[in-house]
Symmetry: C2
Subunit: 360 residues, 2 copies
Amino acid sequence: MPVNDLYRDYRLSWFGQPGESSDVVLMSRVRLSRNFARLPFPNRADMKQLAAVQSMASSVFSDIETAAGQEFDAVGLDGLTELERRVLEEKDLISESMLESTQYRSAYISADRRVSILVNEEDHLRIQCMAPGLDLTTPFETASRIDDAIEAKLDMAFDERMGYLTSGPTNLGTGLRAEVFMHLPGLAYTRNMNSVASTAQQLGILVQGIGSKDNETPGSFFAAMNQMTLGYTEASILENLAGAVKEIIAHERRARKALLLYSKDRLEDAVWRAYGILRYARSLDEKEIVELVSKVRLGIDLGLLDELPPEACADLLLASRSEYIKNLSGSENLSPPEIDRQRAAMVRRVLADHGREGIT
Amino acid sequence: MPVNDLYRDYRLSWFGQPGESSDVVLMSRVRLSRNFARLPFPNRADMKQLAAVQSMASSVFSDIETAAGQEFDAVGLDGLTELERRVLEEKDLISESMLESTQYRSAYISADRRVSILVNEEDHLRIQCMAPGLDLTTPFETASRIDDAIEAKLDMAFDERMGYLTSGPTNLGTGLRAEVFMHLPGLAYTRNMNSVASTAQQLGILVQGIGSKDNETPGSFFAAMNQMTLGYTEASILENLAGAVKEIIAHERRARKALLLYSKDRLEDAVWRAYGILRYARSLDEKEIVELVSKVRLGIDLGLLDELPPEACADLLLASRSEYIKNLSGSENLSPPEIDRQRAAMVRRVLADHGREGIT
């Protein structure tokens, strides 16, 4: 079953791979929240009702495959180990809430892994579609085709005035959530993130740091997403987000040029030191890796470092995640220092793989 | 003239090369201070008297060559550029006081560079002999042979009760100063340097950090030297120092074993990170290099890092000195950031040279 590779492979075709403005944008994601009519939302449903939702979803499985034009794996979450669930969650293919509640929960994952349909998450169905670079159109069209195929067979909870009914009020209406993941070291280093985020806010776009506990954003990775789902058409929501992201991309590129102009030497030194540490450290924690990879990627994008292709950076981020490493090692109980050691070894392996590619 | 290579080569056969206990000891040095009879010490001499000293030294030049069994270069310090003098001083072949006062000052440097005789430094003659590893015997014997050859022709200032008369009181008597340069990261990391230094003090041995401003000792390099020159025979001075050094070596090796036992993972990570930064940094200051090289050398000695021979570390230290780099670049007025950039480039060159040696 191809989905089994997910636990051993790290690469994801939609993350950090070449695409439009992929010097700044790592991926785009569109999610549609849908609920079947006449059944309570999952958080209020009993086991029988959850089972009913799952069997309704099953009944349109082949329609989904036809609409998406590819095969899917139906992954029942209670058939997975906890570690396997955590790996899927790290890869954003299932959500955090599905780590604990597993009964009658499943994920339909497409062969190219760009589509993941969650059954009995917060809503009965969440149709997630991903693409590399800045591309909201492809994922939205795929999600819509899948939605249409399902709605051709099954009734959805829909109100003429409100639109699609959802478990959380923030998804009400279109049920559409679109997100763009960006690498913004230029804006972060030049301390322009706050003004960019507050300008975006005025356009109804939320910009927030990824992986940021205690208000740090290791590696300057940010996500921009729509805040409104009600009272706008899907097209205007996507257009509004794409427009804001294009503004941010332009700001980011200007900030990078300014950095290159005013601090090239310091930047070059920082970029190569980060590369040296990635290549040789024997212990790396998850946060440090993100910071090092961010610097290396900026160096590649600015033409300061040429020993790696840009895609290697995404591979480094994905291959160095803790749950992935624990699952590979076959041990749930790896100590944090041992994870950090295996993570550093994994980083060297990924770099060596890219090194070989570079030589041949 | 072979001495000209000194300004362009960095390697010194007596520094950090293989020898007895060279896992801890980088070099041994013996210095004899001598003054000609009936002429004032250099700091009280007029130009005519300095000239007289120089011509007396000249008159025994070929006797010195015969005694040392090799050719010498007679380097007149006022024939050198200031940068060239600074390079010689960095290599410990002339002393700091000879940077400014150059008239009638010269250095006789042997072909293997293990002997440097300073004329009109603090004393009329300072005969310095160096050897790699812990070896006070060879340099002392060479210095004594040279001293005997000079004294066979010329009268020295000598008092039956006091011994040899010298410009400074600390050299009075035997005129013998012996020094051993050591790398003591084990004792430094385990915070045992203070107790080692104070035990040595009780034996009349001064142990002090090298390159330590503000009480730091970058890279944990220390020198041990005799404090007494009067009232002891040369043999007992050397024996006392060698005995103390052997004690320190034993302590250092025990400390390294303890580090390996209790902090191997942390140490291994620190060692490889230092190596990664040396290989890839684009800017390195003199102090950081010393710290990085110290870690790498410890890693080599403990068998944690195998990409370099131990001698490479000495090369890195010598090749990355500021005056040497300035002189190579041909410019007195290199800015500090530019020196740091060229230093990082030089480090990469030295590592690449050793890499090639490793491959062939």
